[in-house]
Amino acid sequence: MKLKSLLLGGAVALAGAPAMADDIINMATSFQIRSMDPVSQGFWMQEFGQGELLMKFQPDGTITPWLAESVERTDDTTWVITIRDGVTFQNGKVMDVPTVLAAIEYHRERNSGTQAVLPAEATFTQTGPFEITVDTGVPVPEMPSILAHESRLMIIDVEPVLAAGEDYEALEGAGIHTGPYKVVDLNDQRMIAERYDDYWQGTPAMAGVELRFVSDVNARILAVQNGEVDIALYPPIAAAPVFAVTPNVNLALGAPSTGGFLSAMDVTNGAFEEIAVRKAVMLAVNYEELANDVFHGAKIPATSLYNPRFPWAVENYRYDVDEANALLDAAGWVRDGDTRTRDGETLSVTLMIYPQQPDLVPLSTAMQAYLVAIGIQSEIVSVDNVTEATMNDLVEWDLAMVATGTATVGSVSGFLNRYVACEGDRNYGGYCNDRVQELIETLDVTVDEETRYDLLREIQTILVEEDPYVFNATILIERALTSDAWSNYVPAVAWNHIKYDTAPNE
């Protein structure tokens, strides 16, 4: 195996760089698809045209059927899913109800995200040639969102997956997905996918996809400029003035996102154990300046935990440095120039970011200035993966900044259950507020819209006025960097970057 790769590497090396084909999509992303493991890495497959879901989230906020023909709610605890006829997996196998059920079971057994949103007592049964009836036991009002989320229930052909066991490499080329482009090769530099001719929606526009993992932001931009890459994801918005004058580089902006740059505070140890400090920090952030100046208007000022266009959003974020200072003074933190001390201790925090989101650098720099303005010292630490770093205690941190949606694919419960609930698997800071927990659990099973909105409003109020934990620093607009030939590319919502009809300008 090693000898083979060495020889292969040598042969490729001697042959020189292959010529770039005109009919494939060349895309660059800052993240790395680590393996073909459907549980921990499977969600990537929805993003680049490999895998598909039963429902799809649209830019206008609605959720429409995708691999499903229709999804109906017949009563509070019953849903009927009708799957599409004529869909095949990339390995030729027909997508029918048994294979869909097998995929659902696979995720329910292994995927903690799925387990967090689907009650254990829910049952999925075949009730017709193309029909699945879901009895959820307790109401699951967000079922369409669950079916539309890339990390929950991707429809895969489970048989080869089970056969492969932990040999994930065997899944390259195994065609376990239904999408327009089939993975044929994956290594730590790139993923290559080929057109699947029998794709159910029609012939995919391009012959294939080459996705390169380029963590260096300069290289990503240069690659677009140089014509080596058509579309680069996660461009640094702070460099927008540079894109304006760089040839062959265009900043494409899409729909407002359901997410933003979220800040999560470590409430179990350090400066943020104190509620006064948390409130003060939220008041010290100049949300307007962040969106309009730091990010040149390419972001939306955060006024709420949710994108303000959602009807349940409570716009209770405020920028008030005087009030922040007063809170800290009252808590006994004595101000002396740029620092505050109390009983010999200096008030300081550690901000945690990660390099794959280049905008986090100017964001954290701005945060540091806002913190200094109220007398809090800070330093910045960068990790490769925030979840890994926090759950494994790899570094000391106080404020983690992550790009995540609070209403991803229209679902509020997903975020709340994972990030805010006491036992959430992404509850980085160890937050546990009994009332918020109660509200989340009630929300999970409440169907009536108005009641849901009231519950959400109360949660938002507590998270600002009483017991802060997470807050948006700024709200994102979907964005991508493209070459001139691809300047009409519309940045995706719900990370669906490559669709079957994604193609260069006419």
Binding site: G9, A17, R34, Q189, L222, E228, D393
Partner: protein, 318 residues
């Protein structure tokens, strides 16, 4: 007959010394894992995507990985694995580290190899010119170059060259597939910077040799300056030059992560940087081992070549 036997013995002794040195280095490399913060077993399980890890599972993994054995036993087991080419599994990708290293090694080898060739070529040519035209304008120009080159760190020089020249004139590729042709421009840039101090050294050695008694005698006998330079000065100055190169190769190896970061070159150096941010210790170990072994091998090669060229070096010195 006696001389050849002497050479063989000297080489053998030198190789044995190199092996011992490599062994010593391996101790340091292995020590990384026990010294690292965090629980190795837990990292491995997390890397496999497991959630809600119980302490029983951690304990079971510790047993399976042999982490409960005494340290010496762990070292020996690890070393045994290394000899079989097993460097453990990457924490992030679960793939064997040795496999990932083998995939990345050709790229680094190409870049460093070409850079070395360029450096040696540049410094030879420039030093010879400078010595031949001593104190005239080519010499002044070359000495200016060596002063500037020595004052600019390689990575700064590479950064400026890349930004102003390569991107400015749209030469070369940013996301290069590692190949000899793609390595040309980066290697050229690296070579140009490294050659600065080597040129200085060789030039000094050449001038010293040109002023020696032997050279005077040759001049008296009517030999041309050029002949003296090439036939006498160069061979004499070459040995110290070679030794300096050997040491400098170490600096090249050590500076690989920085160089590869600037050129976005997907080699071992870039691999190490990723491993550092994700605390991927098996990968860090693998890299350090490869670096150490290459360094030992490079010094060995230099010493052996020197021994072949100069019989006086064959006697063992303490």
């Amino acid at each position: 007959m006696m001389e050849r036997g002497g050479l063989a013995v000297a080489i053998l002794l030198r190789v044995a010394q190199a092996l011992l040195t490599a062994l010593a280095a391996s101790v340091i490399v292995w020590a990384i894992l026990p010294l690292a913060p965090g629980d190795v077993a837990e990292r491995v399980l997390l890397g496999r995507g497991m959630q809600d890890i119980t302490s029983e599972e951690i304990e079971a993994t510790r047993e399976a990985l042999g982490l409960n054995e005494p340290l010496v036993v762990q070292f020996v087991t690890w070393l045994g694995g290394v000899f079989q080419g097993d460097f453990g599994q990457s924490f992030t990708s679960q793939a064997p580290v040795s496999q990932e290293i083998m995939e990345r090694l050709p790229a680094t080898f190409m870049l460093l190899g070409l850079a070395l060739v360029f450096s040696i070529a540049f410094s030879l040519i420039l030093a010879l010119i400078a010595a031949a035209y001593q104190n005239r304008w080519p010499d002044h120009l070359i000495r200016l170059y060596t002063q500037i080159g020595a004052a600019l760190p390689t990575f700064v020089f590479a950064l400026l060259a890349l930004t102003f020249v390569v991107v400015g004139f749209q030469m070369g590729r940013v996301l290069a597939d590692p190949s000899w042709s793609a390595a040309l421009i980066p290697a050229f840039i690296i070579g140009l910077d490294r050659a600065a101090s080597w040129t200085q050294l060789l030039r000094a050695g050449l001038l010293e040799a040109m002023a020696s008694g032997y050279a005077e005698v040759a001049r008296a006998r009517g030999a041309s300056e050029r002949r003296i330079l090439l036939r006498h000065a160069l061979p004499n100055a070459f040995l110290p030059f070679l030794t300096a190169i050997g040491i400098s190769v170490g600096a090249l190896i050590g500076g690989t992560p920085l160089i590869e970061a600037i050129f976005t070159w997907p080699g071992l150096g870039a691999y190490l940087l990723e491993a550092l941010t994700s605390r991927n210790y098996p990968v860090i170990q693998g890299y350090v081992l490869i670096a150490a072994v290459s360094y030992v091998a490079a010094s060995l090669l230099v010493d052996v070549v020197a021994m072949i060229l100069d019989p006086r070096l064959r006697r063992q010195r303490s």
